[in-house]
């Protein structure tokens, strides 16, 4: 099962996770992949950083 997972699919899931709840199976696959892939760990951290940055940009605006 998890053999099917690769960086491309993991990235897709990371992106989709922002708009929908991932299934348990998807989360398992993603976690399994993340555990062994530094690239995707970085990607995940960066998406969550972007989310914070954009949220702040929309709500508070840039620092003056």
């Amino acid at each position: 099962m998890t053999d099917d997972m690769n960086c491309k699919k993991a990235t897709r899931l990371l992106l989709e996770a922002e708009d929908r709840e991932l299934s348990v199976a998807e989360l398992d696959q993603l976690d399994y992949h993340l555990a062994e892939c530094l690239c995707c760990q970085n990607m995940k951290a960066q998406f969550s950083f972007l989310k914070r940055a954009l949220d702040r940009y929309g709500k508070v605006g840039p620092p003056t």
Binding site: K8, F47, F49, L50, Y57
Partner: protein, 254 residues
């Protein structure tokens, strides 16, 4: 309600409301001065009687009496039929006739009486219809554009990965990203990156990730399918990541 010569600033609806019971229509504020004095000098009731040129189209030139609001209104049904035949959409027809009648009333002073009132009104309506059709064509053309954006968005995503699904360029960690949130220049870079996104993609992304609107609403507003909405959002987030990686976090290394 009757005397508006002192400048009571008629709104559109007020004007039309009075049109339906317009025995006492005097003339909106802002009318050409000579007309105003004409209106003011004559008994109001005189303009209420049917100057309907359907009955006597040729005599308009002979009589200098300007057409009244009621005269103009009396052609509404005909104009709506005309517009419907052209546009094949009842609501659009109503709307465009309303606009044409407003324009006609504003420009009533320009009606020379050489042609029949109906002919003059139809000419105005035709221009309004052409304008509307142009707008509709432009809208339709715009709606096609997202199709290209979807294709290029999918290509953008594919290009980041090799055939076996690995990153073409490894994703390196960003150093102390949270410090960037305290820097004004970082947000300027963020804005520049957002500006680089394709038009519709940028709009969808902004509404979703900056304003926090819900995806269904955005899709409806932009008239795109949910799956296309997602493709655009993914493209935007990935694009923004790539862009900031290059312009702020020092580029891909390794």
């Amino acid at each position: 309600m009757v005397s508006c010569l002192g400048g009571c600033g008629w709104g559109v609806s007020a004007r039309f409301a009075s049109a339906s019971r317009s025995e006492f229509w005097v003339g909106p504020d802002g009318f050409k001065p000579p007309l105003i004095s004409q209106f003011a000098a004559r008994p109001v009731a005189r303009y209420s009687r049917g100057m309907n040129d359907r009955a006597k189209p040729a005599s308009a030139a002979a009589s200098p009496t300007p057409p009244t609001f009621a005269d103009v209104e009396s052609h509404r049904d005909y104009l709506i039929r005309y517009a419907r035949a052209q546009l094949r959409d009842a609501a659009q027809a109503e709307e465009v006739v309303q606009e044409a009648l407003l324009a006609a009333l504003e420009g009533l002073a320009g009606f020379s009486g050489k042609s029949a009132l109906r002919t003059w009104l139809t000419a105005i309506l035709r221009f309004k219809i052409i304008d509307l059709q142009r707008e509709l064509t432009a809208e339709r053309a715009q709606r096609l554009a997202p199709k290209d954006e979807i294709e290029s968005a999918e290509a953008f995503f594919d290009d980041l990965f090799s055939v076996d699904g690995h990153r073409v360029t490894p994703t390196e960690a960003w150093q102390q990203p949270d410090k960037a949130l305290e820097e004004k220049a970082f947000f300027a870079a963020l804005e520049r990156c957002m500006d680089r996104l394709p038009a519709t993609t940028g709009r969808v992304f902004f509404k979703r990730d900056v304003l926090g609107h819900d995806t269904d609403t955005i899709c409806k507003e932009e008239n795109i399918t949910a799956s296309n909405c997602w493709v655009m959002l993914h493209r935007a987030r990935l694009g923004l990541r790539e862009c900031l990686n290059q312009t702020w976090f020092g580029g891909e290394r390794g």
